[in-house]
Amino acid sequence: MAVTEAAPRPVQRRGDVLFAGLARAAAVTILLALAGVAIFLTLEGAPAVTAPASARGGEDDIVLYVWPLPFGTLLAAVLAMLIATPLAFGVALVISHYAPRRTSRTIGYLIDLLAAVPSVVYSLWGIGYLGTRISGLYVWLEDNLGFLPFFAGPASTTGRTILTAGVVLAVMALPIIIAITREIFAQTPTLHQEAALALGATRWEMIRMTVLPCSRSGMVSASMLGLGRALGETMAVAMVLSATGVVSFNLISTSNPSTIAANIALQFGEASGLKVNVLIFSGLVLFVITFGVSLLGRAIAARGVKGDSR
């Protein structure tokens, strides 16, 4: 008893108390905001479950109306990730390990500029430039790979397909993923790298043996941030995608599933009454999906860290 009392109490000054309070307040604010959004979405979305079919575009069941939307959201996001992640990791490796310092700095600035371009501009580019030029590729895909369900066609002549939307989303997710991964690659302990080189590893072997294992969890986190952007992106998809509400894996036709965010943006303008509730309900679904995806990402990232430390 006496011993514990004798132990010196940690010194606490006014700054400590103040800072701890501020930090706690910030943390609580975030939680409150999140809870507020969740409560709002649930309360406002609830009437949609019992709304008459007319408010749901004629579907009898809210699930029937909503379910093509998460499908489209995930499909577009997966396409975007398939394109963006390998590309981003490649660019990040060039910046951190391959390019001479001055070049890599220039590339880094340019990549950061990409992140500053507003999504409307990307969508205009998607419609006016990319779409019209990529439609030739779609015709080729239909002719040569038409036996695959993804390229069954008929190929869109305007190029406003979910694959184009995926490419645009990939370009938008790229700068986020690159910016984070290049910093992480640069954090790899120099001793490890030099050791690998000293043992006779080529540069690629050195990267595979030291850089990638050290960075695995960071790469997952970066991808998750990029995925978050792809899931939630609204304007680009609303403008680029020719959405007709079907559920199909056909990537090059004019009939595509819409995404949740784009659907809300498109329908909200003329919505009133219960239709608004239906849209908010779909927003709740998106909220849950993004929540689930980021939890999953966290889990993967955490596993990566454990694997490395042992």
Partner: protein, 373 residues
């Protein structure tokens, strides 16, 4: 000590200056309204002052912007705002009292009790509704080597329903014997947002109910075809995609070809004059009462010179306003919108079709009947 005593008077002076500055600002803000009062006494022609906040149909947005500018120019002390929140939102806000007037692409009826609710909002008197914006919806297409295209209602419905898939199909070839129609797939483009879709599908369902079996719907019912957001989205998609066909406000068609639509035995181009005529040949809607100039558009008209695919938008207001200032503003603004001058302004800026004289006269009489105070 010395320095603080010096500093204090300085701070005081600064506070004083700030305070003076603030009051000066306040006075400056007051000035226009007091000048306006003087103006009315001098009889400058405009006795109106204040702010009028309306809103509703986004289809009217461009025209409303032109009207606001024109009205504010004639009445410098008035500010008119039009919030393009959509027809449904406009009606909702009008009924709840948020807007003193609203614009709406469809008239009030009692299917969801809106007419009764609006009557209650206007103190037991039925609201007045006047058509103020008529605009032809053109069928635009992108076909190389085809400068003019004539489509029967059945062919048009067949294309958008996905039944007619090739440009050289018999239903199209029949009405275009001289055109060099390609044997290519048709890419029908429709709106992916809800605006305008109800109008177009209503037309298709009325003139070709055997082919277009989906009725009048707000959300595009066919899985095929291409969706594009907004008028500019549809026009862009048709422009970029060869062998495409779509529907859009005629004023936005640009260089694209516009199809003539079968009416009776002939075919009509989407001109403003032909579009304005539809109201003259259309019967009043069932829900129409005193002061409600609402029409069930007669899409099946066989009269020559009438273009049937038309967007009609209405202004909704109360027949009497207890608040004098608000009532005067609504009456004057609506009167301007309906007037020949107002309609010409909208035609110039938004590409709408000016109301036919007989309709405009009746509308003017209805608006003049608004009582204030």
């Amino acid at each position: 000590m010395n320095s603080t005593s010096l500093r204090r008077p300085a701070a005081l002076a600064a506070a004083l200056v700030l305070g003076l500055g603030l009051t000066a600002c306040g006075a400056a803000n007051e000035e226009p309204s007091s000048a306006a009062d003087g103006g009315t006494d001098a009889g400058e022609g405009s006795s109106l002052a204040g702010t009028l906040n309306g809103g509703g149909a986004s289809s009217q947005e461009a025209a409303q912007n032109a009207w606001r500018a024109g009205f504010q120019e004639a009445n410098p002390d008035v500010t008119v705002n039009y919030d393009p929140i959509g027809s449904g939102g406009g009606r909702e806000q009008f009924i709840s009292g948020g807007f003193p007037f609203a614009g709406s692409d469809s008239y009030l009826d009692n299917e969801e009790g809106e007419l009764d609710a609006a009557t209650e909002r206007c103190g037991g008197q039925a609201p007045i509704e006047v058509p103020n914006y008529v605009s032809p919806i053109a069928v635009i297409y992108n076909l190389e080597g085809v400068d003019s295209l004539e489509l029967s209602p059945d062919a048009l419905a067949g294309i958008f329903a996905g039944d007619i898939t090739s440009w050289d199909g018999p239903a199209i070839a029949e009405t275009n014997p001289n055109a060099d129609l390609p044997a290519e797939d048709i890419n029908p483009v429709h709106r992916s947002d809800e605006s305008s879709t109800g109008n177009f599908t209503n037309y298709l369902a009325t003139v070709a109910e055997d082919v277009w079996t989906h009725g009048e719907v707000e959300e595009w019912p066919v899985d095929g075809g291409e969706g594009a957001s907004g008028t500019s989205g549809v026009v862009g998609a048709v422009q970029n995609g060869v062998n495409s066909i779509g529907y859009a406000d005629a004023s936005q068609a640009g260089d694209l070809g516009t199809a003539a639509i079968g009416v009776g035995d002939g075919f009509e181009e989407p001109t403003p004059e032909a579009a304005a005529k539809i109201l003259e040949v259309s019967p009043a809607a069932d829900a129409a009462g005193e002061g409600q100039m609402i029409y069930d558009l007669d899409y099946t008209t066989e009269e020559a010179g009438v273009y049937p695919i038309v967007l009609t938008s209405y202004l909704i207001a109360c027949p009497s306003y207890a608040d004098t200032a608000e009532g005067e503003l609504v009456k004057a603004y609506l009167g301007y919108v309906i007037s020949e001058d107002g309609q010409a302004t909208a035609a110039e800026n938004a590409g709408s079709a000016p109301l036919a004289p007989s309709i405009a006269q009746e509308a003017q009489a209805t608006v003049d009947g608004i009582t204030v105070g």
